[in-house]
Each structure stands twice: as structure tokens, then as C-alpha cells.
């Protein structure tokens, strides 16, 4: 397993850069993962990432994209709860990029 050094700590990631141990996640790790994805983290990005973490903590799954948009619309308003907004923040897909930055498990391809 490759490791990356973030803020003086060796952290294990898989070939695609996903965290091997989800417990390793912290905001510095998130910032590093975002940089690898070429995503410049703004408050709006953090809002989505934090939302995903809360969702995961509550339900133990990463939400399907349409469930995510619906839940975000409910919590943060309809102007943020739509595909266009989320894709602007995470151009390669909120399911993939935002989940990775949020330290959620890698989507297995069927969600």
C-alpha cells in the first residue's frame, strides 16, 4: 500500500488515492485529497464535504447522487441542491470526488 505524508503523519491510501483507513481523515487530509483532485476548497466545497460526512455518520452509507441533491436542497436550499451546482464544485462528479475528499468509502461501481 502506498503511503502519503500529510502534516508529518504517514497515511495509507489505495492506488486511486482513497484512504485505506477512514479513521485517518481530518481536515488536513481532506485538503491534501482535494489538492490531488485539483479541487480548490472553498466554503461551498466544505459545506458539501461536511454534509457528506454527517450523512455517512448517520446512515453508514454514501448517498446516491439524487438522494444527495435532495438532502442538500432540504438542508442548504434548492439553489445548492441540484446537479449543476454540485458538478461546478466537483467537476468529476460529486459522488466520486466529494466522497473521496470527505473520506468516505470508495463507491464500488454500482451506487
Amino acid at each position: 500500500m502506498p503511503t502519503v505524508n500529510i502534516a508529518g503523519k504517514d497515511i495509507e491510501v489505495d492506488e486511486e488515492g482513497y484512504l485505506t483507513n477512514l479513521a485517518d481523515w481530518n481536515e488536513e487530509v481532506a485538503a491534501y485529497l482535494a489538492k490531488e483532485e485539483k479541487v480548490e476548497m472553498t466554503d461551498s466545497h466544505w459545506e458539501v464535504v461536511n454534509f457528506l460526512r454527517e450523512y455517512y455518520n448517520e446512515y453508514q452509507i454514501a448517498p446516491a447522487i439524487r438522494v444527495l441533491t435532495k438532502a442538500i436542497a432540504k438542508k442548504l436550499g434548492p439553489d445548492k441542491g441540484n446537479n449543476k451546482y454540485l458538478y461546478e464544485l466537483f467537476p468529476y462528479g460529486p459522488a466520486k470526488q466529494a466522497c473521496k475528499i470527505a473520506g468516505l468509502p470508495k463507491p464500488t461501481g454500482c451506487i
Binding site: 448517520e58 446512515y59 453508514q60 463507491p107
Partner: protein, 135 residues
């Protein structure tokens, strides 16, 4: 790839067809993987806009009892995921009354809102499905 379905390709044959799908859960969690992998299918089925219902019969009712703590067996506690189903628009959860009673449980012991139905009602629900997938 479609954004709406979260990466699931839908071809033309599937579009517009709405069938009644029932996922019948009869096995307890953790002892085997069936409960967890059944839940994974249920979550995927939500993307297809079908008429989905879940039934909990026999030891399947143990999947949704409150107070599951899995740290000691080092397995993921997936019981909170049943509470996410509502957000996936899966709202028809049926529990067989006789199965609950046989296990000394009541509706208050369950971690999600369900409809408790007797055997006869459950039998009718099952009979009216197009597809029943049992785990």
C-alpha cells in the same frame, strides 16, 4: 452514464416500466452477509423508479432491532442504513406480526417506522408482487 441514476445505465426497454418489487428479508444480520448485501440491492433498486417494498419475516426482523453495537465483532453496523431508505423514497416496510411475536419483540423495539401486518395480509402483499427477491 446518467447523473440521475448515479451511474447506472438505463436502456430503453427499462424506461417507463414500473413493476412491484418486494425484497423479502428472512435472515438475521452479521451471522451471514445476506442482510447486508440485500440492503445493497434495495438501495440500487431505488434508482429504477419501481414500486419497491421491503418485508421482514422470520429472523429478518432482527435486522431492524434497535441497539445494535458491532464494535466487539469488528463488523460494520449497517442498521442505521435502514433509516436512510426514506430518503431513497423507499417507504413501504412491512413486518410480519407473527414473526415479531415469536421473537418476543414489539414495534417499539424496531429502529425504523414499519407497518406491522399479520400473516394473511403479508401473504396477500407477497402474492400481488411482480418480482419477489428473497435473501
Amino acid at each position: 452514464m446518467s447523473d440521475v441514476t448515479g451511474g447506472i445505465d438505463m436502456d430503453d426497454e427499462t424506461e417507463g416500466v414500473v413493476k412491484k418489487f418486494m425484497f423479502l428479508n428472512r435472515k438475521a444480520p452479521y451471522g451471514t452477509i445476506y442482510a447486508l448485501e440485500a440492503l445493497e440491492v434495495v438501495l440500487i433498486s431505488a434508482a429504477f423508479d419501481q414500486d419497491v417494498s421491503l418485508a421482514f419475516v422470520d429472523d429478518g426482523v432482527y435486522q431492524i432491532v434497535k441497539g445494535q453495537h458491532t464494535k466487539g465483532i469488528d463488523q460494520k453496523n449497517f442498521s442505521p442504513t435502514y433509516r436512510a431508505l426514506e430518503g431513497y423514497d423507499i417507504e413501504k416496510l412491512y413486518v410480519e406480526k407473527e414473526s415479531l411475536e415469536a421473537r418476543g419483540l414489539t414495534e417499539e423495539d424496531l429502529l425504523v417506522d414499519v407497518q406491522v401486518v399479520d400473516s394473511a395480509a403479508m401473504a396477500n402483499l407477497m402474492a400481488e408482487q411482480d418480482v419477489v427477491i428473497s435473501f
